[in-house]
């Protein structure tokens, strides 16, 4: 078992895909426990037994469609008309637009490529310091992760929902819980932007009611989107999976039939591309299900709980340790694998410390979000380095203030559960 495990970890370091790493560990575990290895397939197969999973392919398609359409441009125009006149206006526009876009496209790095790439030159042109601009677009790539319908949020709701906790974790609660913490992160970065932008020659543009009206009309098909996602679920009319189908249908109709920004002939390619991402995520989810089952079978959560109860005596210390561990995990492991493996392990422990599972989820996601641009290995650093043709060291320096600011917001989110639970 130990030799096998060492071999698998070596293979992981050589670049073996994570789903295979996780499946291999599960196979080793079941083998060591003396079970027929068909049990691993049986566990993997439970992927087809999970309610609401369909929300993931649906929302992913919606995100790809929006990314390929003129939505990013219209979104920036609207944010510009609303916020561009503020000191630091353009930077705030970048923050808000990135957050909205990430909520719909998930943490796939698409935000940096789709929005960051055309806002970065604009920021530099408006005399924002180059280092600030670079840090902003890089760190904003994961902003908005806490807003529905971001994939990591759904994935957490999904995995935690299966744990049958009391109180239960429902998509509806989770979607509401993300609003204030996500808003806090935006607020912190926006205030910082105003500070940076205070001595710039003049605001990017002055407030113009006519332009605002024009931008609103221009974005009239995008504006109902948050309402469809949240309103449908909050009113109890739809389950999360149904809201996903309705949203996707709506986005399809708007981008293909009304705005005609995506040609029907291009649609199959786009759908296949979106489903390749979905396949890459769900195949990890399936493998993690098998691994989790082995952990449950071996009573690892119980041992983990006994261990932590011996050494950690308060919810506060537990949360503090959690922050440290999750930041590390978030830096090295992709967010989807981290969620599916850690949720079943940590939620029972957190609950034993009296932490609400919805609050816990928000804290976990906020941590993993920072991991995205955490030096030296955060994924968004690599994407930004590639896209903006710069190196990791420069990016690390550029991201440092953002890291501290969002980190401060993270501490507030962690220690003030009301932010997550106040709207439930």
């Amino acid at each position: 078992m130990l030799i096998g495990l060492a071999l698998v970890l070596l293979l992981a370091a050589l670049g073996m895909p994570l789903f295979a790493v996780i499946a291999a560990i599960a196979l080793l575990g079941f083998q060591a426990a003396g079970y027929d290895l068909i049990a691993v397939a049986v566990e993997y197969y439970r992927l087809g037994d999970k309610p609401g999973l369909i929300a993931i392919p649906m929302f992913t398609l919606a995100g790809y469609l929006l990314g390929e359409s003129g939505t990013p441009t219209r979104l920036v125009r609207l944010s510009m008309a609303m916020l561009g006149w503020l000191p630091g206006g353009l930077a705030i526009v970048a923050i808000v637009a990135c957050a909205f876009f990430t909520a719909f496209t998930g943490a796939s790095g698409m935000t940096i490529v789709a929005i960051g790439a055309f806002l970065y030159p604009a920021l530099v042109k408006a005399h924002y310091p180059e280092r600030y601009s670079l840090g902003l677009v890089t760190s904003s790539g994961s902003l908005g992760l806490l807003f529905a319908p971001s994939l990591p949020l759904i994935l957490y709701g999904f995995v935690a929902g299966q744990l049958n906790t009391t109180p239960a974790v429902t998509m509806r609660d989770l979607f509401l819980a993300g609003l204030m913490p996500g808003g806090l992160m935006i607020l912190v970065l926006a205030l910082h932007a105003m500070w940076v932008g205070r001595q710039l020659p003049k605001a990017a543009q002055s407030f113009d009611l006519g332009e605002l009206w024009a931008a609103l009309k221009d974005a009239k098909w995008e504006l109902p989107l948050p309402l469809i996602v949240l309103g449908g679920i909050y009113s109890g009319k739809f389950a999360a999976s149904e809201a996903a189908a309705v949203t996707t249908l709506y986005v399809l109709i708007v981008t293909v039939l009304i705005k005609k920004e995506i040609k029907i002939g291009k649609l199959p390619d786009l759908m296949a591309e979106a489903m390749r991402l979905v396949g890459a995520i769900l195949i990890i989810l399936g493998a993690a299900g098998a691994l989790s089952n082995w952990l449950v079978d071996q009573e690892v959560p119980n041992h983990l709980f006994d261990f932590s109860r011996q050494h950690v005596h308060s919810a506060g210390v537990f949360l503090m340790l959690l922050n440290v561990v999750l930041l590390m995990v978030g830096m090295f492991i992709d967010i989807f694998s981290a969620i599916v493996i850690l949720t079943p392990l940590l939620v029972p422990v957190a609950m034993a410390y009296g932490i609400h599972p919805v609050h816990f989820g928000i804290v976990m996601l906020a941590n993993l979000q920072i991991g995205y641009f955490m030096p030296p290995a955060g994924m968004d650093l690599f994407i930004a380095a590639y896209r903006f043709k710069t190196n990791i060291l420069t990016l690390t320096r550029a991201c440092a203030p953002f890291f501290l600011l969002v980190g401060a917001a993270l501490l507030i989110i962690t220690w003030w559960p009301w932010l997550s639970l106040g709207l439930l």
């Binding site: 293979l11 992981a12 370091a13 050589l14 670049g15 073996m16 895909p17 994570l18 789903f19 295979a20 499946a23 291999a24 196979l27 027929d36 290895l37 068909i38 397939a41 049986v42 993997y44 197969y45 992927l47 087809g48 999970k50 309610p51 999973l53 369909i54 993931i56 392919p57 649906m58 398609l61 796939s108 790095g109 698409m110 009319k237 149904e242 996903a244 189908a245 309705v246 249908l249 399809l252 649609l267 199959p268 390619d269 759908m271 296949a272 489903m275 390749r276 991402l277 979905v278 396949g279 890459a280 995520i281 769900l282 195949i283 989810l285 090295f332 492991i333 992709d334 690599f382 994407i383």
Partner: protein, 158 residues
Amino acid sequence: MIEKLLRGLHRAEDLLLAALLAALLLLSVLQIGLRMFFDTGLEWAETVSRMGVLWLALFGALGAARAHRHIAIDALPRLLPPLWRRVAWAIAQLATAVICGLLAWYGWGMLQMEREAPAVFVEGVASWWPMLAFPFGFGLLSLRFAIAAFGQPSEHDV
């Protein structure tokens, strides 16, 4: 010739993926419509769409393997000189092919076990039918990773 065949095959694979997604979307929307306007529903819809997502996951993963889009920790291989990077790539891909082969094999075992005590998936379809996704999907994945082992390492960054 082979090049052309392969392109056609990939095209067919993409179309299948898109069609599966479209069917799932259609089924969901239909179900919502039936519920909201006619107070009724298709009793098989939920079961079928869940299994559809499983199939979608496996075929999506197959496509991801083709495009080298599977999530991996590749910080170390990036630091290696080209030749060693190539070696690491081949080892990792072959090992993945082995794991997928095992999953296909045990998936087949699961299917056989289910055939010994079959339940009903939906009316008229035995519960082992949807299990074909495993030997089939992971079998193809295994093949694809084995082939990839002899190709160039992925250069993807996103």
